[in-house]
Symmetry: C2
Subunit: 145 residues, 2 copies
DNA sequence: GTTGGTGCAAAATCTTTGCATCTGG
DNA sequence: CCAGATGCAAAGATTTTGCACCAAC
């Protein structure tokens, strides 16, 4: 199940003239293993070091930038001052949304989209062609209400 | 027209035990003058210095943090690595959306909301009570299409 | 073998903080 | 007056970069 992810990445990289290295593979492994976690760079660095103790933080930065460039990951901003990343999902045409609890800080996700109507309206009114979006909802989660 | 803004801030600060200083007033002036600009901290610092050459960057940081705390400004993340701020608008119950052109980098705004249905659905399905949101649309602006 | 990749440490950025001094109310 | 605010410089934190060495293809 996860092997296909790796093959995909190998393919993606090769297509653009990049190499498939141990470090890149290890970063991908961490992202797969923690796919629901919105990891920060430092989180990723620390997890990767468990298996690959010699990796440098610079490589992690460079790897994530590259993975984002080839579309394998997406950068998130959860307003806590850290860059966070999550795997992009091939079955999504648009990004899912994040629910951020302003009380406990928990971050969950909603798969629903429902922005098509709005995007169509933006095209008509503003002439702006939407290709992607990033949506964050703030509020109170079930537990905190 | 802008005097009311200042009175509002004075009021807001006083209410919470903060002082209305020249520096805070100057920062607000800059934000009012460039209300459609999504200024970075450094932009704000430089504009403020024109009138108030002795102000320190630390004061600008502290002021913006405070203004956000009392609800006078909103922090933006436009994915360029800078913290940006804009005045909050008292006539909005929800934030407007930003359209970010992935070709020329231009940032414009849409006032439409249309997320009420989605937010209601989130409450029913996830038990999450949405109080605010932040929405960014990526795509091609009129000029770049 | 080439060309791109990696690790390390230094540098560059952005932001926060300690402290002496100043100022609004 | 006095609590909060400011300016400055130093410290923190995050991210980027130069360079010699290494590894994928």
């Amino acid at each position: 199940m996860d092997g296909s992810r790796k093959d995909d990445l190998k393919e993606l990289l090769k297509k653009s003239g990049y190499k498939f290295t141990d470090q890149r593979s290890a970063v991908l492994d961490v992202l797969i293993k923690h796919k629901d976690s919105h990891l920060s760079i430092d989180d990723i660095y620390n997890y990767v070091k468990e298996r690959n103790p010699d990796i440098g933080i610079a490589t992690v930065y460079r790897t994530l930038t590259l993975l984002q460039k080839v579309g394998a990951v997406v950068k998130l901003d959860l307003d806590d001052g850290f860059s966070r990343y999550e795997l992009s999902r091939q079955d999504e045409d648009h990004r899912h949304h994040h629910l951020i609890c302003t009380n406990c800080g928990d971050v969950s996700e909603v798969e629903d989209d429902l922005l098509d109507a709005l995007e169509e309206q933006i095209l008509e009114k503003d002439g702006f062609l939407v290709t992607d979006h990033r949506v964050k909802f703030y509020g109170l989660c079930k537990k905190c209400r």
